[in-house]
Structures are given as structure tokens and as C-alpha cells.
Point group: C2
């Protein structure tokens, strides 16, 4: 956990802006507090972020030199933020030259990669020379404690977003619902469990980076901290329980957070696990919403019962009429409130969750 | 992964020999290849290991001085093996003096603790002075790769031991079944996934020490290696799916190993999760055998279907007639072959597993 001073970012999203691997870039621009002065993606140079995220007018540029040039002279960028999360989290060799150039230009480096920039010999030596900081938001805490099974603070309501897949919108749904709860006058908290959430919120732990034995315990500890900050606690979920590569992280978060309720996040039209081809290239198909709900509720019940109380759909790729039709289908299939909180606002879905929980929570 | 030269061990089991926290000591004595010359447990000094493990005549002594004195002069001990696995895996402060004295006496230190002895400044400085090695069997591999969903090598049969709890005998059952398969003339492999198994076998990964994101991928990799070594592959399970603190490790191992079959290990009479008191001191009750089987099979099926094909009971605490009665009850409750492979030999249970698998595996 840690907090950041305010920075002015150049966001590196080379080759990926607007696509799923750039979800860190998108999340920081959409939900972050610090200004972004330029996005680097040579494929999209000349375009503007507001084509993807209306209301966020930020130039997309070809390289770091151009990023430095487009920024207002009186407000130069102060940091390069790595806005892509490659599978496995290594620093791609092609980025190294960009990181070196950024450090030489006096920029801090802000990273959420597994491979820690602050432990890279070349980068640390260069950073010392140029007096810049290397900030790793995925660095795990030194705390090595297994879950103790603490009870929730009475009055708290812990809601975990769970998904039919990874990279499907669990962080954004938790942020939107937190916003709706705050707008309803409640003391609402977002619990970041991944590097993008940490960059946005200034605290949290990238739970996929924690030693496996302490995963449940770290999730428990995050919720304990959140319960000192507010009453309505929205925990960012990770992965999916049926994901061949990431299921352990999903279950540890579920059993450590022991949520009172879960919100299932899905993208209509997604059929297979994103970026995961499987042994024969056929990928790994997603379970139905109903099967997902059964799986999450059964897994939760092995430690602490919890219900899926709502479905959040990510319909950004669909025209509005199709989006509304998908929402109706999801509601009918599951018998639960369903909506797209990004697109149609989070207030209705939050109101439904509040009704479900306040009928059930002491 | 790594292999050891042959050593002569003093095993540190202070305050715990014969009890569950000393399972590393018990496992290394029972299944290891390197001789143990003495066990340190001041509570039990003067007794002999063969009171617990018949056939293993090893003196239990009060301290390191006594351990050095009882060893044959021509075959002095060459290493101190830490035979206790405290929850959380820290070096208890009271042991530090023993480790220091062992290093000063010229012994290597062999450890399976989370807290790595080879990264402890005091111990590494002292080890350098005295020319001894500090060996951490729980050190995770540098390999950081997520699961790829590789298919099993045709002809291989992968069997994972799963449990109703942690510290219940999953490693021992896998070792006993491997022995039975080898005795049947099959190319059999044991896959160590914890520090004790690694100490016994000389390779493997303590999967609870791996970064959570790479847990499934590491389990997959271990099975890939095992499939180059033999056909009948017995993977040591970890934790339990309903364990509040360790469930993530259990699921990652299950989804990474994608076993063809599972063997459920249980200790009759154990009612709650060992060493885990829960928020109100009431602990966390174990699920029934039938509920465990459902939970493991459903969880497996989310990635790759697998069946529980046998039940292995750890009846060491019961008289023989009660043990046989418990085995009959387990078989009736589950409709599966059941036995205590430690006590009555692994051949019958392995034969039943072989029948179940060779009816189902191409």
C-alpha cells in the first residue's frame, strides 16, 4: 500500500490503446485523479483519447519526444506510466529504450508490471543519475500473514465483483458502484486489488503478486482496512473461478474477502477466455451466467456463504438497443437485477444491490 | 527445483516431535533417502523415534550439543534440517541460537520455511565464515509463466491427492501410491509440491511460495516435467478447497495439474480445520466426505473434468478394529474404494485406482 504525490502522466500504450491489453491506460484516464498529458501509441498517432472515452481530450502521439512536445511548457509531464499489462507481466524488450529515454528526460516511471522496474539494475542506476523515482504498484507488501477468519465490522457491507472472465470490467463496476453509493450519501470505499486500481486510488495490493500462501490473508487484511474507511465496501475482483491460469487468485480473493454479496460482471458476446488459447488453440469457453452464479456461490459457501445479487454487463461494443436487449436477457436468465453501470449509470444497479443487502444484513 | 548431495541430518523438531507441526521431520525420516542421526526435542529427550515410526531407530536429544555427541565419530552430522513448519513460516526467534550454533559447528542448514535462511543477513555472514551452505527448499523458481493449458502426454495418468484439510496426509498418500505403482512394475513419479516432499525427493516446487499469478502455471510445469519421468504421476496435494486460509493454493494446484483423477485424504475424527481457530475460536468445521467430493469435482470441472476415484484414510490414531470400521463407513458413504495405505499397505488402493483409470483413460 502507498500513496502517490500528484503527477502529470505520459501513458505508454504502444500498439494497444483502446484494446484490452491497455486496460491500465483506459482505467487511469477514466477514473484516475492525476492528469494525463499524452498517450503513446504509434499506430493511433494523431487521434485523440476522446474518440474512445468521451470527455477525455488527450492527444495520442507516436513516441516520447512527441509526448514531451505536446505538453504545455509550463506543465511538463513528470512521469511515464506503463499503461499496458502484458500476460506474464514482463518488461517487453522493445519498451526498454522508451523507459531509458523517459528517465533521461527526467520522468519518474510508474509501473504495474510483475517485473519490478525498481529492481532492474540498468533502470535503477539510470534513475539514480537523473534523480527520478521508479514506482512499482505491483510490489507486494512485506506482510506475510495467513487469513485469520476475522469477522466483518458490524454495519459493514462487503461487495465483491466477480467475473465470467478476466479483463471484463470488474474494477470499473466496483468503481461505478462506489460512486453510486457515495452519491446516495453513504460512506463508500473502493478496495483496489490490482495495479490499475492502485494507480487510481493510491492504496491497495495487487493480490496476484502476493505469495500464494498469503493471498487469502492479504484479501482479508485489505477488507479490514476498508472497514476503517467506510461502510459500503466494493472490492475489485480478479480473474474468474473457471480461468485455467488465474483461478487461484480469484478463489483466494473470494475466501479472504468473505463478501456479503457478489456482483457478476460479463461482456455479452464474449465466448472464450480472453487471451487464452488453450492447448489446441480452441480456447476455453465461458460458462453461462447461471453456471457462473452456481460456481461462485458454491465456492464461497465452502468458507462463508455469499450470494450473487446482481449482474453488471459491459455492453460498450453494442448499439444501445442491443445492449438493452442483452440486459433483459441476463435479467431473465438469472432472475437478478441487471444493467450496464458504465453506460446507463450505476445508480439503478446500486439501488437494487442495496435493497438485496439491507434486507439480508443485520 | 534442485537436487541435494547426500547429507547426515540432525532434525530440529523442538517442542513438536510426533505432532502435526513436525510433519516435515516425520516425512523426511519416513520417506527420505538421507540418514537422520538425531532429532532435537527437549520435551522428548531420551526417547527414540521408533516409538512413533517403527523401524526408524533414531535418538531424540535435548539440544544440538547432545546431537553432535550421540552421532558416530566417523559419521558426524553434516546438516541441521528444520523439521517444523510453523504457520506463516517465520524463523521463530528461539531457534536462531540453535541455527547459529549449528553453523558454528560446521553444519549446513536445510530449511523449508517461508522466511529464507539464505537471505538472513546474520546467518549468511556466519555461513560464509564457517564455509557451510544454507539451503532453502521453499525458494520459488525464477520462472514466471502463467498456465498455458498444455495437454497431458498421451499415456500419462495424473493423480492428485486432495484433502478434507491441511496436514492430513496428502503427501504420504501420494508417496505410498507411487511406491505401489512402482511395485506393480509401472514407471511411477511423485511430484513434490511442498518443502517436505522436495527434501525427500530432491526436486519440486513449494507451490504455496509461488507468486499467486503463476501458481496454476507452476503446477502445470511440474506435471510437464513429471511426464518426462514416467507414466503414473502422483501429485502431492496442498491444503483444502474449503480452507479459509489456504484454498487458493489448493485450487491453483488442481487447475494447473488438471489431474485425470483425485484421491481424497481424510483423518477420521478430525472435525475442524487443524490449527485454524476462526474469528470466534469455534474453528471451521470440515465438510463431509460426500460434500468434499462434490466440491472438488465441481471445481475441477470448471477447467478440466476430474473424478475422485478413491478415499485414503489416515487412521494412525485409532485401534485396528476402529480403523477398519472407519474405512467401511467411508466406502459406504462415498461408494468408492477406501483404505489406509499407510497402515494396511498401498497396493489394494492403488489397484482400485488403476482399475478406475484404465477403464477411463485412452
Amino acid at each position: 500500500m502507498g500513496a502517490d504525490a500528484r503527477r502529470r502522466y505520459v501513458v505508454l500504450a504502444e500498439g494497444a490503446f483502446g484494446e484490452l491489453p491497455s486496460k491500465t491506460a483506459m482505467g487511469v484516464i477514466r477514473y484516475g485523479h492525476d492528469p494525463v498529458v499524452a498517450v503513446i501509441d504509434s499506430r493511433q498517432a494523431g487521434r485523440d483519447v476522446n474518440e474512445w472515452l468521451p470527455g477525455h481530450a488527450i492527444p495520442i502521439v507516436a513516441d516520447l519526444d512527441e509526448a514531451m512536445a505536446v505538453a504545455p511548457a509550463e506543465q511538463p509531464p513528470s512521469a511515464l506510466l506503463i499503461g499496458i499489462a502484458p500476460q506474464g507481466g514482463r518488461i517487453p524488450p522493445s519498451w526498454r529504450a522508451v523507459l531509458v529515454a523517459a528517465i533521461e528526460a527526467g520522468l519518474d516511471i510508474v509501473s504495474g508490471l510483475h517485473e519490478l522496474v525498481s529492481e532492474d539494475p540498468e533502470l535503477t542506476a539510470l534513475a539514480a543519475t537523473h534523480g527520478v523515482e521508479l514506482i512499482d504498484h505491483r510490489r507486494p507488501p512485506e506482510r506475510h500473514v495467513v487469513a485469520s477468519g476475522r469477522a466483518h465490522r458490524p454495519g459493514s457491507r462487503v461487495i465483491l465483483t466477480v467475473g465470467t472472465d478476466c479483463a471484463i470490467g470488474k474494477m470499473s463496476v466496483a468503481l461505478e458502484l462506489r460512486q453510486a453509493a457515495a452519491a446516495a450519501g453513504l460512506a463508500a470505499v473502493f478496495v483496489p486489488t490490482g495495479q490499475t486500481g492502485i494507480m487510481i486510488e493510491g492504496w491497495g495490493v495487487a493480490v496476484d503478486r502476493v505469495i500464494a500462501d498469503f493471498l487469502n490473508g492479504t484479501a482479508e487484511w485489505l477488507v479490514e482496512r476498508a472497514e476503517t474507511l467506510g461502510d459500503w465496501i466494493f472490492v475489485e475482483g480478479q480473474g474468474s473461478l473457471d480461468h485455467p491460469a488465474y483461478s487461484a487468485v480469484t478463489l483466494g480473493l473470494l475466501h479472504g474477502a468473505t463478501p456479503h454479496a457478489m456482483v457478476l460482471v460479463h461482456e455479452p458476446g464474449r465466448r472464450g477466455h480472453h487471451g487464452w488459447e488453450g492447448p489446441d488453440g480452441r480456447g476455453s469457453p465461458l460458462l453461462s451466467l447461471a453456471d457462473n452464479i452456481r460456481l461462485y456461490e458454491r465456492a464461497a459457501a465452502a468458507v462463508a456463504p455469499s450470494r450473487v445479487v446482481a449482474v453488471a454487463l459491459n455492453t460498450g461494443q453494442l448499439p444501445e438497443d442491443e445492449a438493452r436487449a442483452e440486459i433483459a436477457v441476463a435479467a431473465a436468465e438469472t432472475g437478478l437485477p441487471a444493467d450496464d453501470p458504465f453506460r446507463f449509470g450505476p445508480a439503478p444497479l446500486f439501488a437494487a444491490i442495496r435493497t438485496a443487502l439491507d434486507g439480508a444484513t443485520p
